[in-house]
């Protein structure tokens, strides 16, 4: 029955999760009918343009790139997996930042959802799954383009598919939590401000060894570098034990992102 504690504490998982994240996903899929398809297509084509311009164009002047085991590979095959990781990241980040930002500040969507039997973890999981789906869709398209251009050098490229799901999941769960702090459009621009250098410098277009050691450490702390190295290992077939570290990095990122986002939703809508 009732408690008469002075500072009541809120209960466990039951108060956070109703096991119904799929209703949130279902809502998202229905709402994609009113999606801005131009933005979706931009997200798909951007990395493809990079691949064509840099990989095929610039790549014809570049030789001597090696994979993780030191074998010689074409430049396009070197940057393609990096762009694949980037496309998964872009899809996930777009959905978990811009879309979430609008729903939080203009649509009052989460307020409505949390007045039902859904808990904040249902909402977080559902919205993150949608971002993940978009990331996966972008990634799969890109992977098919790579296949068509002969840039998948090994059968292990198939495993890149679950890998980009993981990458998208990681970025989406962290992205949604961070977005919950942002209140203005200017602040939303900061996301772009972080994403662009991360895209350019995470060993995307050249091996990390070109940097002096301290800078290498910085790059290795960033999530995209782990994503790039993980996917590159899989599409080139140059498997190493370090890939387990990359995998672990994303598992931790997902767990932390989920906890973080759930807490934020609860603080914002169930105060």
């Amino acid at each position: 029955m009732t408690t008469t504690l002075d500072r009541p504490r809120s209960g466990g998982v039951k108060a956070l999760y109703a096991g119904n994240a799929r209703a949130v996903v279902g809502r998202g899929l229905l709402a994609t009918r009113s999606t801005n398809w131009i933005i979706v297509l931009t997200g798909v084509f951007e990395p493809i343009f990079y691949l064509l311009a840099m990989g095929i164009g610039l790549g014809s002047y570049i030789s001597g790139v090696t994979d993780a085991r030191g074998d010689q590979i074409p430049y396009a095959a070197f940057i393609a997996p990096a762009l694949l990781a980037v496309s998964a990241m872009n899809g996930a980040v777009y959905d978990s930042t811009w879309n979430v930002f609008f729903k939080m500040h203009f649509g009052k969507l989460y307020q409505g959802m949390l007045a039902t039997s859904l808990g904040p973890l249902d909402v977080a999981l559902g919205e993150i799954s949608l971002a993940l789906l978009r990331g996966a869709a972008y990634g799969t398209t890109f992977l098919l383009v790579m296949q068509a251009l002969g840039l998948n050098l090994s059968w292990t490229a198939l495993l890149a598919l679950p890998a980009i799901l993981l990458i998208a999941f990681g970025f989406a769960s962290l992205g949604m939590g961070i977005t919950s702090y942002l209140k203005t459009f200017q602040q939303m621009d900061w996301i772009q401000f972080v994403m662009l250098p991360m895209f350019l410098f995470s060993a995307t277009f050249y091996p990390i060894t070109v940097y002096p050691e301290p800078i290498q450490w910085v790059v290795q702390a960033l999530p995209l570098w782990h994503g790039v190295e993980l996917v590159r290992g899989l599409t080139t077939g140059a498997l190493t034990w370090a890939m387990l570290v990359h995998l672990g990095y994303f598992l931790v990122m997902i767990a932390l992102g989920l906890i973080f986002t759930t807490r934020r939703l609860r603080a914002l809508f169930l105060d």
Binding site: T3, A15, A18, N20, A115, T116, S117
Partner: protein, 308 residues
């Protein structure tokens, strides 16, 4: 007596040091229609949010359908219908889809939700707008859709936060009629309002709230009987003469209230009070005799008007 559906004891909600709800105690019985009447900032919405298990109390105890909202938020919310003060319909979805999707949030099966959605569109007189965009609906239609949405899970308790604020009289009457039907069907209603006519129309029993505290409690009729006279005589002398005239009116009726634009004389018979006013040689510009209302109760209890 059946067990109450809501029991609140010394309920407090603080934002930093400010107590928006400052120790209120009440019970709501099943099937009852219970109102919270109060001016802006009284703490009505804050109370509703605590009952709706979307806001954590700072202290006191609260039981909704026998459960503590701190522990059982989703379980409680699954049996509530919530109409928030501001519509939060899903503008990315069409009218009928709003109902379908909302039903799915409760984990209800698709087929059941679809059948229920059609019934509710009928109930809300929106069947012909099923495929419309939410943004194309009028204010009254949006409100009815919000109420329909709140009923999708066949709630045991319906929470309505200012259901008709901002609507024109006709739209209000349509809404009142719908709520009346729900009441007849035995749904427990908890509603807030700062319209006394709405409270009189819809609430069996109500609490008058001001600054987070309960000022009075009872049925509309008993509150009026207890805190006001049977009739009220309103006289106007023009804003300059109001204060001087008030001095001359002393002693007429049970009580007198001076407002900036008029003077209210509380008396068993308004006509007799008016006769006395004229006998004293005072000539009001206008005079009006009416029944006492909850507005008068509120004025007496707080010294302030309900609508600012």
């Amino acid at each position: 007596m059946p067990a109450p559906v809501i029991v609140a004891t010394d309920l407090v909600k603080k934002y930093k040091d400010f107590a928006a709800v400052d120790g209120i105690t009440f019970e709501v019985a099943p099937g009852e229609s219970f109102g919270l009447l109060g001016p802006n900032g009284a703490g009505k919405s804050t109370t509703m949010r605590m009952i709706g298990a979307v806001s954590t109390r700072s202290s006191g105890s609260l039981s909704i359908l026998g459960l503590d909202p701190n522990e059982h938020g989703p379980a409680i919310r699954s049996q509530l219908g919530v109409v928030p003060q501001q519509d939060n319909l899903d503008t990315e979805l069409r009218v009928r889809d709003n109902l379908l999707v909302y039903g799915r949030y409760f984990g209800l099966p698709r087929a059941q939700v679809a059948a229920r959605a059609d019934e509710l569109l009928e109930f809300a007189q929106l069947s012909d707008r099923a495929k419309a965009k939410v943004d194309d609906l009028s204010g009254g239609m949006k409100r009815r859709l919000t109420i329909a949405r709140a009923l999708i899970n066949e709630p045991r308790v319906l929470l309505l936060d200012e259901p008709t604020t901002g609507l024109d009289p006709q739209a209000r009457h349509i809404l009142w009629d719908r709520l009346y039907r729900l009441r007849e069907q035995g749904t427990t209603l908890v509603l807030t309002t700062h319209y006394m006519d709405e409270a009189e129309q819809l609430a069996d029993r109500l609490i008058v709230v001001d600054k987070g505290r309960i000022m009075a409690e009872g049925s509309p009729a008993s509150l009026i009987r207890e805190h006001s006279s049977r009739e009220v005589l309103e006289v106007r002398f023009g804003s300059e003469r109001n204060a001087t005239a008030a001095a001359d009116l002393a002693g007429i009726g049970d009580r007198l209230e001076v407002l900036p634009d008029r003077i209210l004389l509380y008396a068993h018979s308004g006509e007799e009070a008016l006769a006395e006013v004229t006998r004293r040689g005072l000539e009001p510009i206008t005079s009006l005799v009416r029944r006492s209302s909850l507005e008068d109760v509120f004025l007496k209890l707080t010294g302030r008007s309900l609508i600012e």
